[in-house]
Symmetry: C2
């Protein structure tokens, strides 16, 4: 268990070998063992292997190579559709078209995704999470024909790794851990937290390539800009609304 | 790995024995190996052991016994505070006070929580997720003194189990799995999906205790009512706004 967790790396190059349905079923079964609110299981997982559909998804995910390359694309959805249909068929009046229910279902879906990721790795597969899932939720809704009360919250690609990347660095553990209450960061804490990362050779390379003075500027000016964040915030909120989760029920 | 996943059950009774800092550190280290957007690690974990604080948290979590009983309470927060402070100290202009950034950070925090849950279980500990974390996010913000750009998205309690509950049932795997695209549920699909659960002796017991005709009614009328959902939706959205995540930056 712990070995799998500590060996995790995102895989961005895949062999073309397919993943058997048997393994996919085991992996998904592991997903379904995650904690779920009130045992409602308000999530769905869509497993896409079809080439044409994966090409459409690749376009949605900013045309990242690995999305075309990996034989399996999984979409983890917050899903109150199935549960709501059940309620309606059982003389009860569901009330899940609201933000709290969306977020509850999103939590369910995300815990499933992490179990799936770890189970896949335990079976020798590689995975990579796609942050573009929320950016392009509206396109994913169209491509995968998601009905009302279903919203994609994350995607992963999966397949047999064709690379062996090193472990990614992490901030010192004390910087993410707070004892008893939240401990606000002082300027010198911030300096200490980011010191190792900022002084790494990787950062020096990135600064040269991007012609920036600080690593933070690469994030704010290139990778995760305010303009993009605002644009995709509105788009994501619109999608959640359109899927019926921002109503008054 | 897989054994831990398949053995997971939520633990609601705990021994009073404390959890050592050494184990907590290992567990948290496992958490930090989860995938994180752009390796930004936009989350924080607050570990609360203090009795008085845990009593306040217990009150926030609808006074569920296990919150008082378990020696450790962990709060997983979407956190763009640390990252934003870093940007500001490094001549860059952060733009993370928006919904997309909140959700990105929430994903980060939730993947960490699932790694932590599994790592804890691999160390012989028991855990239980607290759905009340989003319902009562505003109170948790107050109790744990969370600053701007920090929002709790889930909590777990942790300790040595004082019960051995059986595995919880799950819906048939085909009901949560969709091949290629989303397959909409027909009325007969819904009947089939919920058949086993509805016919179980546990359900019959619940129907008798709650004096309801269908299991769905127990969810819609008692456990997760429309009225509560709407009330707590507004409260949660207000908290996200108050913490600065619904602005235009």
């Amino acid at each position: 268990m712990l070995e799998t967790i500590f060996n995790h790396r995102s895989i961005r190059k895949y062999k073309s070998s397919p993943v058997s349905d048997e393994i996919l079923d085991k992996v998904l079964q592991a997903g379904s063992r995650a904690s779920t609110t009130g045992n409602m299981q308000v999530y769905s997982v869509i497993i896409t292997k079809d080439e044409d559909l994966r090409k459409q998804l690749w376009e949605a995910h900013f045309k990242q190579d690995m999305v075309l390359q990996a034989p399996v694309h999984m979409t983890f959805c917050a899903d109150f559709n199935r549960f709501t249909k059940w309620c309606k068929q059982r003389k009860s009046v569901p009330g899940y078209g609201n933000f709290l229910s969306f977020f509850t279902a999103a939590i369910d879906a995300l815990l499933v995704s992490q179990n799936v990721a770890l189970a896949a790795e335990a079976h020798g597969l590689g995975i990579c999470y796609l942050g573009t899932a929320t950016y392009m939720a509206d396109r994913i809704v169209e491509i995968l024909e998601l009905p009302e009360l279903v919203v994609p919250v994350t995607c992963i690609v999966m397949g047999y790794p064709d690379e062996q990347p090193g472990l990614t660095d992490r901030l010192p553990m004390n910087s993410i851990k707070h004892e008893e209450k939240y401990k606000e960061y002082l300027p010198e804490d911030i300096d200490m937290i980011y010191k190792e990362r900022e002084e790494s050779s990787l950062t020096k390379e990135l600064l040269a390539i991007n012609k920036k003075e600080t690593l933070a500027q690469i994030f704010t000016d290139n990778r995760y800009t305010e303009k993009d964040n605002i644009y995709f915030s509105e788009r994501f909120i619109d999608t959640i609304k359109k899927q019926g989760f921002f109503g008054n029920s």
